[in-house]
């Protein structure tokens, strides 16, 4: 069964748009299908040390809701998002071990 969620009824997380952030690691999941952005995010964050930053590249618009949610649940910090026009760059700082 498929569930259609009306995003407008949900509380949208506040997203800070940034540019020029230098990351310690880059993960490119542009054109990869959902939920690869969350799977790779989880995998890559495990590899990073506390204080390091991951740049996650994705064209999936749902990530604008999923990644802030994931950060809130795991306690990591979403520094912000850069919109290149073609895809998004999410900057996530590992703040918990």
């Amino acid at each position: 069964m498929y569930y259609f969620i009306n995003m407008t009824e949900q509380k949208q997380p506040e997203i800070k748009f940034v540019e020029g952030i230098v990351a310690d690691a880059v993960e490119d999941v542009v054109y990869r299908m959902c939920p690869m952005h969350l799977m790779r995010l989880e995998e890559r964050m495990k590899e990073l040390k506390k204080g390091q930053i991951l740049e996650l590249q994705t064209d999936y618009e749902g990530a604008l809701a999923d990644i802030p949610d994931w950060c809130r649940k795991t306690g990591n910090e979403l520094i912000g998002v850069e919109d290149t026009g073609e895809f998004f760059k999410f900057y996530i700082k590992k703040t918990v071990d």
């Binding site: 999941v29 054109y31 990869r32 690869m36």
Partner: protein, 384 residues
């Protein structure tokens, strides 16, 4: 009746070892590889082992292999997926006139969507013109796709040289290696290609499974949308048994590559014998061709009629690419090579396999002249 199968470009028999490897995944190990319980995990592990074998065959890394439903899907994914992923850089793409229909039609679909497509011509041996590529390619070209070996005439293309020219202009390179893989060594690094298509059923594997090699770090827009299968690049529950069979077929293909010289020797005996019949001409390049491939124009003998008449003698050969031969009488590949339409209908293709024996070739040569003579007798075109 004695049977000789010489149509290995159309498909190959399933190797018994391949079938044995597949059977458990059609019976007890039927789990969905996306499930984390043991039944799913064993299917997932089997897929990953197959991915390693397929990668090894073409000197790639396992994470560079995307399993598909066929060589045709691999070609479609490479062409449409890479063109779409790079369309911000440009909308000019290049291919050749003698590609498989899965390539030609994928490019035609892009043409309808506003891409500019250059179809490179070939010479009388079926070699793609490198000079024409050099003059057609621009900084706005994003993709060049030229097959490694042609199905109908066996000619090998200068893919390495083509890749160097394309890369100088910043274009990506795809090659359709369905006809080549398993018959000659194929090395993606040596060729310098960014993407390469292969298929299981032309190397003693099952039908319904192919693969696209995609160089690590490249983006591709999917053809089939779903979820996490194939790392989010090709949706749909995996054809586990088929993929396992492909893995085994790839392993065997690598092991049997040393049989190439025996196959070439038999192929040369076949060519020598067939050319003894009057007004028969070899098509394709005499040396730069697949070692298992012998193709001819048999003057005044319709290719389809010859194929059927030989099948009544237990000899199975081809008269064109299997999937189009029922529709088009004159081979578009021979037409592109400059043959007139009437002669392009007289195509005869024999493709050997690793199980082909000297006895098989002798049998074909014992029947071929008589069958040709009989068909010529009833041919309105034959004036001999």
């Amino acid at each position: 009746m004695f049977r000789v199968y010489l149509d290995h470009m159309a498909t190959t028999p399933l190797d018994r070892e391949v079938l044995a490897a597949m059977l458990p995944f059609l019976e007890n190990s039927f789990g969905n590889p996306s499930r984390m319980y043991d039944l799913g995990a064993e299917a997932k592990e089997a897929i990953e082992r197959a991915r390693e074998s397929v990668a090894r065959l073409i000197n790639a890394s396992p994470n560079e292999i995307i399993f598909t439903s066929s060589g045709a899907e691999a070609n479609n994914l490479a062409i449409r997926g890479l063109a779409k992923a790079n369309q911000n850089k440009g909308m000019h793409v290049i291919t050749s006139e003698i590609e498989h229909h899965s390539t030609l039609n994928a490019f035609r679909s892009l043409q309808k969507e506003g891409y500019v497509v250059t179809f490179l011509p070939v010479n009388s041996y079926g070699e793609v013109s490198v000079e024409k590529l050099e003059s057609a390619i621009t900084d706005r070209t994003t993709l060049v796709s030229v097959m490694l070996a042609n199905y109908e005439v066996g000619t090998l293309q200068a893919v390495k040289e083509i890749a160097e020219i394309a890369h100088e202009k910043g274009a990506l390179v795809h090659t359709d290696a369905v006809a080549a893989a398993g018959n000659i060594p194929v090395d993606v690094k040596e060729l310098g290609v960014d993407a390469l298509s292969i298929s299981a059923h032309t190397m003693y594997g099952p039908k319904g499974v192919g693969a696209l090699y995609l160089r690590e770090g490249l983006r591709i827009v999917p053809l089939i949308y779903s979820g996490i299968q194939e790392e989010g690049r090709r949706g749909g529950t995996e054809n586990v048994a088929g993929i396992v069979g492909f893995g085994k077929a790839a392993e065997l293909a690598l092991r049997h590559l040393d049989k190439v010289e025996k196959v070439r020797w038999l192929r040369d005996k076949l060519i020598e014998g067939v050319l003894e019949v009057e007004k028969v001409e070899l098509t394709g390049h005499p040396e730069k061709r697949l070692p298992n491939h012998a193709s001819f124009i048999v003057e005044s003998v319709d290719g389809e009629a010859l194929m059927m008449a030989l099948s009544f003698e237990g000899i199975y050969m081809g008269n064109g690419t299997a999937c189009i031969s029922q529709v088009l009488r004159a081979s578009p590949i021979l037409l592109a090579m400059g043959y007139p339409s009437q002669r392009a209908q007289c195509s005869a293709i024999f493709t050997l396999g690793r199980e082909t024996t000297k006895r098989d070739i002798e049998y074909v040569l014992s029947k071929f002249p008589g069958v040709v003579a009989k068909l010529r007798k009833i041919s309105p075109l034959w004036d001999g």
